[in-house]
Amino acid sequence: MLKVSQITKRYRKKTVLENIDFTLQSGDIVGLVGENGAGKSTLLKILATLEKPTVGTVTLHDKSYIKDRREIRKQIGFVPQDIAIWEEFTVAENMRYFEKLSWKNKTDTQLQKICTDMNLFEWNTPVKVLSGGMKRKLNMAISFIHDPSLLLLDEPTVGIDLKSKKEINQYLLHQAKHLGKMIIYTSHDMDEIVHLCDRVICIGKDPFYVELLKEIKKEIIVF
């Protein structure tokens, strides 16, 4: 369980996030929406332990983000918005490279399965010749090598074709509903949010988003 309690983030005098408070249970998928600069990425970075909240606490499986940071990081699969892979490597080499640096040892078969589960079958193809969608899938596959229980995805489907987007969403749904993983997902695509998420967290109280979310029959939390 992920418990976010009253977190506030300030950069000098500017408050980016204020009193964010929510809980995630196993199998939950939560969408983070809001205008650009509202603080979605900051919240995601706090949840990924890459930044510290100015006020408030976060716990994952009852472990504190302050005291058990190293243990917490073993449980997090963070998919950065930018594609963080070696372009000159093949898919296989990328997977093997990051497996060597990861917390968990995996065989080639296990690594290949992570890719095929995402419909990424180009195992021996150099990354530089892959399509944008395939690169996004690999970017995600690398983040999931160590079997994290909390998946944090920063706009993972931005700029890719519909088919790849659908395949990624299917994969994430499977991870949450069958394997019990918690997923927090930022996106500007409302259709995607509606289709994928159980709950939506709107950051920034922007009237446009608030009005838009009223039409969605999902649990909405506005901060």
Binding site: F78, W86, F89, K100, L101
Partner: protein
């Protein structure tokens, strides 16, 4: 450690040529420059022909003595060929050591022993002639001394104990052993340690300069790892970025050390460089400092080409301040700089504790800052 080696191997596999080229460049460039220098040095020497009409030890010792001169290139020829080359100005001058030279020296003769030829373009005839005359005078003096010793031996009843040949041979041997011109003198029993030359054309000086530049170029991997988005993944990996860098430094240190040991062997066989124990300490200090220096500098750059430019400038400055281009008294006022200069450290001929300690402190500061920002 094994897993880091495997990841590094993946990276090397993608650019094997540039890695090998940069690892081998210091060796190849040094051998090339040293050979080119020797070729040029030979070309600037004045060509002088020598005709030996007899091959006695006295006659050949004249050729040996002339060959020691840094200004003339001696070629042994037959009379006809030597005179033809003199006429066509391929030779500056020709000297013929006549048949019976040793016998005439034995008899105490000093005249008509050599014949010299010059052309209208000769300009080294006179100095070479003077050199030859001094050698003949020396041989004649040695012969006279041998006769005197023999006379004294006869007078004192030791007539058949030594021959003229024995005495002259022993005299030459003593002259070579004493080598008065280049003897090191010491005062009050202080040991005057002779150290290898650090001159600009010392192969190790050239190698160190190239090796430093190549090490910097190889260390662009630090920027590539840091400036890509991959950097964001290190927070979720087994090793933090700082630990990852340290483990990679160990791998690179071992890789360079293997190449450096190979360099010692290659220089021994191709450039006749002695394998001395202190070269190991020199290389260890130098390699350790260069690797830490390259890593610290690379960590402060985001653009590879800016790093290349800076490291090239830094290497040139290190060369200038290493003592080969600057007067020693200037450097004596900048001793602190010598501790930081990898090339100056290399020329110290021993394990350089101060330089190593300074770089370890710098690296530790960087490491601590990285770890704190990651915590």
């Amino acid at each position: 450690m094994k897993h880091i080696f495997i990841t590094r191997f993946y990276q090397w596999k993608k650019q094997p040529l540039s890695l090998f080229a940069l690892l081998l460049l210091p060796i190849i460039a040094t051998i090339f420059i040293v050979h080119i220098f020797h070729e040029l040095k030979d070309d600037t020497k004045i060509p002088v022909g020598i005709v030996l009409e007899e091959d006695t030890s006295f006659a050949t010792s004249i050729v040996d003595a002339l060959q020691q001169s840094p200004l003339v290139r001696i070629t042994e020829l037959q009379v006809d060929e030597a005179l033809h080359q003199l006429e066509t100005h391929q030779l500056d001058s020709v000297f013929i050591i006549k048949d019976g030279y040793e016998e005439l020296i034995h008899k105490g003769m000093r005249n008509q022993l050599l014949v010299g030829y010059q052309s209208n373009l000769s300009f080294a005839y006179a100095p070479v002639k003077e050199t030859l005359l001094s050698i003949v005078q020396q041989d004649a003096g040695r012969s006279k001394a041998a006769h005197t010793v023999l006379q004294l031996a006869n007078d004192n009843g030791y007539g058949d104990k030594w021959t003229w040949e024995d005495i002259t041979m022993r005299s030459k041997q003593t002259q070579d052993e004493e080598n008065l011109i280049s003897t090191s003198f010491s005062f009050d029993n202080q040991i005057n340690a002779s150290t290898p030359s650090n001159g600009l054309l010392n192969p190790w000086t050239i190698w160190a300069a190239f090796s430093m530049v190549c090490t910097f170029l190889i260390f662009d991997w630090v920027i590539r790892e840091k400036s890509t988005f991959i950097y964001s993944r290190y927070a979720f990996m087994k090793d933090s970025y700082a630990v990852f860098i340290i483990k990679n430094l160990i791998i690179y240190f071992l890789l360079f050390l293997i190449c450096d040991l190979a360099t010692i062997a290659v220089f021994h066989y191709s450039l006749n460089q002695d394998i001395q124990f202190n070269i190991l300490w020199q290389i260890l200090s130098f390699r350790f400092i260069v690797i830490l220096c390259a890593c610290i500098i690379a960590n402060n750059f985001k653009k590879v080409f800016a790093y290349y430019g800076f490291s090239l400038m830094f290497s040139i400055l290190c060369m200038i301040f290493s003592g080969n281009y600057m007067e020693k008294f200037v450097l004596q006022k900048l001793t602190w700089m010598n501790h930081l200069n990898p090339l100056a450290v290399f020329q110290d001929h021993h394990l350089h504790y101060v330089g190593i300690t300074v770089y370890i402190v710098f690296f530790f500061i960087w490491f601590t800052r990285k770890e704190l920002s990651n915590a």
